[in-house]
């Protein structure tokens, strides 16, 4: 058998396929994108007829997966951490309905915000929803987690989260595969009211969910993802969650002398945690993301000063961990002198590609806005967010998917006229449409520029759900035909584009300008074939 050296995301994807996956549903978002892409490109997935198309957003993806689970088959939903905010409604309620076919929520967090707006920790969401979560520490565990999570999901009729983080998602190592399982056959839930959350039923389902909590803890106590490693030096004990276990072991090449509790499944195994805290004089908590476990161990307000971690400066409060930070927390830092970065080194932020259509749109927009005061352009999430940086300095907001349209509406309602929304075609499909309907209904004086590069560019060029329908969507929502305009962002069209934008800025109603030219990166890839 040839070597299999996947990214953590790819290991999880192959694991899901080998565990009998019937469908993956997702909206692209770094660092989660490669899970779904791997399945889309997998000949094995095609041979097995696995569903793997991109969804319009994370909420529609999760609901479709829940439907597949209703029909008895194993489904997985993939998204980045902030995508789970979009899908929070089905996420929370699916813990109540429970599942029929196994259902796995693969959520990839991005501590240090390499490609994100925040660094929220999805383990809080699992705890909030009262569902089990698996946090693999390496690529092999990511592969194995799929088998385990689907089995756990079907055993307890509950969705199970697999929490990934950037470093594991985007790092490769060798992985051993197992014998693939067959897909489930089509079947309906025994109780056809299982998914009907009428209050009377929901109250029963909540009681069921609460009753399962002790079973979830018992599973964690016996889980292969949780391991108590007994060692003699009890002056310190270390609780290491997920990938932080590797950073710990990296600092003890000859083996760690202290007891270690490796955590890879939640809710926490109470007995194992109690043992570590009782046996050891001090406890260091290592976790990638927010101090979830540390806060639980501190047991406010009875913190005896025994527990250390991100909340008392042993580790930074924010950002991802690494072996050097863990060495510092352990007092084991390499004392040899370190080379320093010379002061001449300049920052090199990401930027729009040479020839990017967004650059032409921003040049035209900036010129059209010259006669107005600054600070009236609300934007969104995608490559075009780089328009906030020099040389464009063209946008004034980037908050969450679709917020450009709705924030511009609110600002226009407040009297900031004209207000402009700049949103990509994929982001518009994801969460811009309903906001535009609000604006049309209110006749808000608003100019929406849809930057249509015919793809989801930032995450590597996935198809965009609204492709080919943008003008029809705007017209269908009630934008007047003469105020649905299309421009071609090219240098030679600059003057014409400035004119169109100026005309629509002057119109005191809802305008939609579609700035359409294919992303040069996807165009290049297509030419190469």
């Amino acid at each position: 058998m040839t070597a299999f050296v996947p990214l953590g995301n790819e290991a999880l994807a192959q694991g899901a396929l080998d565990a009998g996956l019937s469908g993956v549903y997702a909206y692209p978002g770094t660092p989660s994108t490669e899970i779904t892409e791997y399945i889309q490109r997998s000949p094995e997935a095609q041979a097995r007829g696995v569903t793997s198309a991109w969804a319009a957003n994370e909420k529609t993806a999760m609901e479709a997966a829940l439907g597949m689970s209703y029909a008895g088959k194993r489904a997985m939903v993939c998204m980045k951490h902030v995508g789970l905010n979009v899908a929070a409604d089905p996420f929370m309620n699916s813990a109540f309905t429970g599942v029929h076919g196994g259902l796995v929520y693969a959520i990839a967090d991005d501590p240090s915000m390499h490609s994100s707006q925040n660094e929220q920790d999805s383990r809080f969401f699992a705890k909030f929803a009262l569902i089990p979560a698996i946090e693999p520490s390496n690529q092999q565990e990511a592969y194995d987690a799929a088998f385990y999570a689907f089995a756990l999901s079907e055993q307890h009729e509950i969705p199970v989260m697999v929490r990934m983080t950037t470093r594991l998602s985007h790092s490769r190592a060798d992985v051993r595969r197992r014998e693939p399982l067959a897909q489930n056959v089509l079947s309906l839930p025994r109780n056809l009211l299982q998914f009907v959350l009428l209050p009377a039923i929901a109250r029963r389902k909540y009681a069921d969910l609460l009753a399962k909590q002790d079973e979830f803890v018992a599973d964690s106590e016996a889980s292969p993802f949780n391991r108590y490693e007994d060692r003699p030096d009890t002056s310190l004990g270390i609780l290491a969650c997920g990938i932080s276990y590797n950073y710990l072991m990296e600092n003890f090449p000859e083996g760690c002398p202290h007891p270690v509790l490796k955590i890879g499944q939640y809710p926490l195994p109470r007995t194992l945690v109690a043992r570590l805290v009782e046996v050891c004089d001090q406890v260091l908590v290592l976790e990638e993301g927010m101090p979830l476990v540390e806060e639980m161990l501190r047991g406010y307000p009875f913190d005896g000063g025994k527990v250390h971690g991100r909340l008392d400066g042993y580790l930074p409060r924010a950002g991802e961990l690494n072996p050097t930070l863990v060495a510092r927390a352990l007092g084991r830092e390499d004392s040899r002198p370190r080379f320093e970065v010379p002061s001449i080194v300049a920052e090199r932020p990401p930027q729009l590609c040479q020839g990017c259509p967004h650059a032409d749109t921003y040049r035209a927009l900036n010129e059209a806005l010259e006669s107005y005061s600054k600070g009236r352009v609300f934007s969104d999430i995608g490559c075009y967010t780089l328009g906030a940086l020099p040389p464009f300095n063209a946008i004034n907001s980037c908050v969450d998917m679709g917020a450009s349209v709705t924030m511009a509406k609110g600002a226009a309602d407040a009297g900031l006229v004209p207000a402009v929304a700049v949103i990509g075609d994929s982001t518009f499909s994801h969460s811009g449409i309903t906001g535009l309907l609000d604006a049309v209904n209110a006749r808000s004086p608003l100019t929406v520029i849809i930057m249509d590069n015919l793809t989801t560019a930032m995450t590597g060029g996935q198809e965009s759900a609204g492709q080919g329908h943008l003008e029809a969507i705007a017209l269908g929502l009630g934008v007047e035909e003469e105020h649905v305009r299309v421009i071609t962002p090219l240098p030679r069209q600059h003057q014409a584009n400035v004119r169109v934008i100026s005309e629509e800025l002057a119109y005191e109603g809802v305008s939609v300008i579609v700035a359409r030219r294919e992303c040069i990166e996807t165009a290049k890839r297509k030419r190469k074939g």
């Binding site: 994108t33 390499h114 985007h170 190592a173 060798d174 950073y247 990296e250 040899r336 090199r348």
Partner: protein, 192 residues
């Protein structure tokens, strides 16, 4: 045996292809590998880096500790300097002299090269120019890999086989052009 390296460059330069070639060669030799990549926003012309670790025993961390890298292999001179805290005191630098000038405040190139020459074991080469001479401008990464190969605990034949595997889908001509670039890089420096 354990060998840790940081690969550096600018998004789009081919850092991940170097990593992929070394990774294939290492796994082909039955070694363990961990390789952390950068995906997402930085790939749009920003600073990118990859941590690549190979060993004959299981590797724990996906990231290299500061002061531990055996090699810093870089496609761009200033980007080399960004990651020197990872370099071990006796670590080796292999870097291209050609700058990527996509920022307005790029420092004086002579100052950058002078700063690089301060390091105890540094090999600067004109990988971009060499690739252009070979009429394969995109293969500067393979020239650098060739130069770096003199220090790696991997056979040149294993790396060439990995290059063939990596580019095989694009045809025999592309494979031989990249192997040619690799050999050119390998012949240009004397390991100290």
């Amino acid at each position: 045996m354990k060998y840790d390296m940081i690969l550096a460059g600018v998004g789009g330069q081919g850092v991940l292809s170097i990593a992929a070639a070394i990774g294939l060669a290492a796994v082909g030799e039955g070694l363990h590998l961990k390789q952390a990549e950068v995906h997402g926003m930085s790939q749009r012309g920003g600073a990118v880096q990859s941590h690549l670790r190979i060993a004959d025993r299981p590797i724990h961390s996906d990231l290299i500790s500061e002061g531990q890298a055996d090699m810093l292999l870089s496609l761009e001179p200033m980007e080399t300097l960004r990651y020197v805290p990872f370099l071990a005191p006796d670590g080796v630098i292999v870097a291209d002299r050609a700058p990527v000038l996509n920022i307005p405040n790029y420092p004086d190139l002579d100052a950058v090269l002078a700063a690089l020459r301060q390091f105890p074991r540094v090999h600067l080469l004109d990988a971009t120019a060499m690739a252009q001479e070979l009429r394969n401008a995109r293969a500067s990464n393979m020239v650098l890999l060739g130069a770096a190969s003199l220090f790696l605990p991997l056979e040149a034949s294993a790396l060439e086989a990995a290059i063939a595997q990596l580019f095989g889908r694009k045809g025999e001509a592309v494979v031989s052009k990249n192997v040619e670039a690799f050999r050119a890089g390998r012949s240009v420096i004397q390991p100290a």
